[in-house]
């Protein structure tokens, strides 16, 4: 085994200033991070951030322009074959042979990873059950729907139970129910089989639900890295937004001395407050409003999400279609205050 500078036995992945240059364009611009054994690590970022390119380098499909990385203890360039022995990957883009059946795709994969015949059949039927393709297993993949292909693809990546599993946007294009199943299975692979998992995703909930730690990637760089909890905590708390019909001024005055309100602002009859554990503060606020003869027409509670964290660090949303209206304004507020 090669242990490079600063490589520790507890690290499943160690990345040092990895760069990928396509012509004049730097898709990955000096990324460094490490993933502990047994961890689920998330890479979050908008389209074109360089997530897939990073994964391709770590899975030996692309040779980095500079920098180095170790996966399962092996150098991705010098020892790529040993890296390949220890990893599994579910690609973002399709990678099935659609002139073969679903079962054949799984079977061929299992043979390529040297799984014995009896083991193989057992594993394959387990996987087919998980991805709910038992009754379609012997149809040609070209007759599958998009979601079925995706499920097959995920199932294939899980068969050989690698040490490190790369999932590039695993649940893209799946319905909510299947997504849940897959999430639970990913969790199980991680907790029961001790597989280290690195996943990229656009789905904030996915990263939030699955990842022990999250790295935000933007323009080929990591802009923030921590546990989802810690990242959200850095934003300073929940936001309660009250639409006040009458008595705005007296309510404002009444709120001012309260220590548990960390920040407040008013726009067009709406008061936005930053507090901890917002759900417990709402009843108190209602009582205070009554005391000051203010009438509140609506109260909304906004808990910071990883989306807000991303906005905070980059000034933009992961998926640009969001961020308009009230939510957008609240997020902008988070971003401004914490910058």
């Amino acid at each position: 085994m090669h242990f490079g500078t600063g490589f520790s036995m507890d690290e499943a992945i160690k990345v040092n200033s990895l760069v990928m240059q396509f012509g004049k364009f730097r898709a990955v611009d000096g990324i460094s991070f490490s993933v502990n054994k047994g961890e689920i690590f998330g890479l979050l970022g908008p389209n074109g951030a360089g997530k897939t390119t990073t994964i391709k380098m770590l899975t030996t499909l692309l040779k980095p322009t500079s920098g180095n990385a170790y996966v399962a203890g092996f150098d991705i360039v010098r020892d790529s074959n040993n890296v390949r022995k220890n990893i599994g990957i579910v690609f973002q883009d399709p990678s099935l042979d659609d002139e073969l059946t679903g079962r054949e795709n799984l079977d061929f994969h299992a043979i390529l990873y040297n799984i014995e015949k009896n083991q193989r059949d057992k594993k394959i039927s387990q996987i087919l059950k998980l991805i709910e393709l038992e009754d379609k297993a012997d149809d040609l993949v070209k007759n599958y729907s998009g979601g079925m292909k995706r499920r097959l693809e995920i199932g294939r990546g899980l068969i050989h139970e690698p040490k490190v599993l790369f999932l590039d946007e695993p649940t893209i294009g799946l319905d909510a129910q299947t997504r849940r199943h897959i999430w639970d299975y990913i969790k199980k692979l991680n907790s029961v089989h001790k597989i280290t998992i690195i996943l990229t995703t656009h789905y904030i909930e996915e990263a939030d639900y699955l990842a022990d730690r999250v790295a935000f990637v933007d323009h080929g760089k990591i802009v923030a890295l921590d546990t989802p909890r810690a990242l959200k905590d850095k934003l300073g708390g929940d936001i309660i937004s009250m639409q006040v019909q009458t008595g705005l001024a007296s309510l404002e005055k009444g709120l001012k001395p309260l220590k548990w309100i960390k920040a407040a602002s008013t726009h067009d009859g709406r008061i936005d407050l930053t507090v901890d554990e917002g759900e417990h503060q709402i009843p108190r606020l209602i009582l205070i409003a009554e005391k000051h003869n203010a009438t509140i027409s609506s109260i909304e509670l906004h808990k910071p999400s990883l989306e807000d964290v991303f906005l905070h660090y980059t000034g933009k949303n992961i998926r640009d279609e969001e961020g308009e209206g009230w939510k957008g304004r609240i997020r902008a507020m988070h971003a401004k205050r914490n910058r």
Binding site: K56, T59, L61, D97, E99, L112, N114, R156
Partner: protein, 258 residues
């Protein structure tokens, strides 16, 4: 440990071979497609032109041309099998193959064996049809070497196709480049005329062309007479196959998954 690795390599060869066979059997229209060209050549060259030609070496032109046509159809299907790499890249399956812990050489060997097996089936069909239209197959013990020559011709040129397919990713470009290779390879061989009738400098070119030895080997084993000795032919084909396997394994290592 060493044993485990060997087993894996054999697995890779087996899977890629099996995949080719399954795809071949399923694609009925493709089977007909690859039989069309040799059939037209058999009819046009073998029967049409053959009725006008009397070989100085004796024997019928049909008996002379059938091994040439088999060599040609092996050449064309083999080289164009390189498009499989392009399709695999297009459909992303190339990534799946390249990320598995198998050496590039076993992947290439698996593909070559798969392609060679289907090419063999194709050649046998062409021979059977030739016999129907008057080809006198020469019955001798050497006949058992005919499939060996067919496989080696296929392997050599599948190697060429895979090499080209590894470097070229657009389909039109691939077609252009392969015809740039296949046409001279075929016409500058002993496929449609004996080497003896060629001018000296063209002779040298045909001597450097592996197809010449492949077709000569087929002539000896199928029609009973050739230019070189069967061992020369066999040695030349084994060497060219080895070189092309090595070259395509190297190219495959360098290929971009797209």
């Amino acid at each position: 440990m060493q044993k485990g690795i060997d087993k894996m390599e054999i697995n890779a060869v087996y899977v890629l071979w099996l995949r080719d066979i399954k795809r071949f059997i399923r694609a009925k229209s493709r089977i007909i497609g690859i039989l069309m060209m040799p059939l037209f050549f058999l009819l046009g060259l073998g029967l049409g032109l053959g009725s006008l030609i009397h070989l100085s070496t004796g024997g019928s032109y049909l008996d002379f041309i059938v091994p040439g046509i088999i060599g040609m159809s092996l050449l064309f299907t083999a080289v164009s099998s390189g498009t499989a790499v392009l399709w695999d890249r297009q459909f992303g399956f190339l990534k799946e193959i390249l990320v598995t812990p198998n050496s590039r050489i076993s992947i290439v060997i698996g593909r070559i064996l798969g392609g060679a097996s289907t090419a063999l089936i194709q050649s046998v069909i062409v021979i059977l049809i030739s016999i129907l239209i008057g080809f006198n197959i020469h019955m001798s013990p050497a006949l058992i070497l005919a499939p060996v020559f067919m496989a080696l011709i296929a392997a050599t040129f599948i190697g060429l196709g895979l090499t080209l397919g590894s470097f070229i990713s657009d389909f039109q470009g691939f077609q252009l480049v392969t015809s740039f290779f296949t046409m001279p390879l075929f016409f500058l061989s002993n496929g449609i005329f004996p080497i003896s009738v060629l001018p000296q400098f063209v002779k040298y070119i045909t001597y450097a062309n592996p197809l010449t030895y492949g077709i000569d080997g087929l002539r000896i084993t199928l029609s009973g007479s050739g230019t070189f000795s069967i061992w020369t032919d066999l040695a030349a084909m084994l060497i060219s196959t080895a070189i092309m396997i090595a070259l395509s394994a190297y190219a495959f290592k360098k290929t971009d998954v797209g």
